[in-house]
């Protein structure tokens, strides 16, 4: 495994994009960063600027207005930047599937590297999703 990839898997900085969610998933994401679960021991930090991010967490179903911002944020990220869909809304649009103001499933708009289903997913599930993402990265 090369050095660049190893450093990337050991130090993942997370940017949190809330695309009009009901905030349950966001609370669970913040839970995963609290002292009880302490993601900093794996080098995972929450950053405020998309330019610093290695992983973009997206919560909520993407609306027509949100889609423009989502695409722009993804373009602004410095690559390699991975996208993780957190929660059922981001994974499959859930109950908003037939709604008139939805821009479609998120993976039709930008590439998605991991899905974490649940409404909301538990912090354990989020951590497991991140672990699976890291394992997939290591395999290449």
């Amino acid at each position: 495994m090369n050095l660049k990839l190893k450093a990337l898997t050991k130090s993942i900085w997370v940017f949190h994009f809330a695309s009009a969610p009901c905030n349950n998933c966001d609370i669970e994401i913040l839970d995963a960063l609290t002292p009880k679960f302490d993601l900093e021991r794996f080098g995972i930090l929450l950053v405020g600027s998309i330019r610093h991010a290695d992983v973009m967490l997206v919560t909520g179903a993407v609306s027509h207005k949100g889609a423009v911002r989502l695409k722009r944020l993804y373009e602004q990220a410095s690559k390699p930047c991975l996208v993780v869909a957190v929660g059922s809304c981001a994974c499959s649009m859930c109950i908003f599937r037939d709604s008139y103001n939805m821009a479609g499933p998120m993976d039709k708009l930008i590439p998605v590297h991991a899905y974490i289903p649940g409404c909301p997913p538990k912090p354990e599930a989020i951590i497991m999703g991140v672990v699976k993402l890291i394992k997939a990265l290591k395999k290449g």
Partner: protein, 309 residues
Amino acid sequence: MVKTLFYFIIFPGFLFTALVGLLVSWIDRKVTARVQWRVGPPILQPLYDFVKLLGKETIIPQAGSKVTFLLSPLFGLAAVTIVSMLIWSIIISPGKTFLGDLIVVIYLLTIPSISVILGGFASGNPLASLGASREMKMILAYELPFILAIFTPVIKSQGIIRLGDLLQYQWANSMFLNSWSGFIAFVVAIICMQAKLALVPFDIPEAETEIIAGPYIEYSGAPLALYKLTRWMMLFVVPMFLVVMFMGGILFSGWHILWGILKYILLLVIIVLIRNTNPRIRIDQAIKFFWGPMTILAVLGIVLSFLGK
């Protein structure tokens, strides 16, 4: 020639300072984690962060000025490297001092902040400009009491402005911390150091919850890595400067080395504890704090040192 290059690049210069800076920033994060009842990151974490940032894509904003944007991290890094080299070469052999190197060090310690201002204004981002203007106000605020505090030892030693002679004066007499004026100046200098390092009560320029990352907001990849490295190196260099000024530096013989390292660790613990027990203050509060109580304390220290206390 080779010796000078070795001095600059390897031992007291870049490589040594960078490695110790990485270690020190890990200690900072680990102690913070323990204070918050967490486990904290592994010891190689700052190195992983640095290598990862080097491997990432560097984006130059369209609205920004390309040359200034890319060069300003280098200014800060170069200044910090030179300060570290000056201080350590004086600690190792106090005879290597030259007239006015104290003033050179004070001057160079401002350059990293100025590089942050340049970088922030060159990014062409409103939040970065806001952060840079706050950084500018912070420099105006803390520089006055800091310089007053640093000049207290100079007055106490009857006007020595060579770092090496200051060290030898302290070894011959006692360290400046042992007098009233020295103690007051030391307290002022510690608080100004917190502002110089932009740590928590004074992390106003990059206030994460208000203006996201301040001047660093548009930086990514290698320039961001350089900024991070500069900050980690500052966390090593600025306390070392205070150890030399007030606490008698490090005497390179036997047990005295350990005692010198303990002095530095004491300062580091004070920094981390201040950082973990305080909320962020507003920029106007910071200016009032530094130009009011801190400057008055520093002037008091100077008056006391003229009286010989």
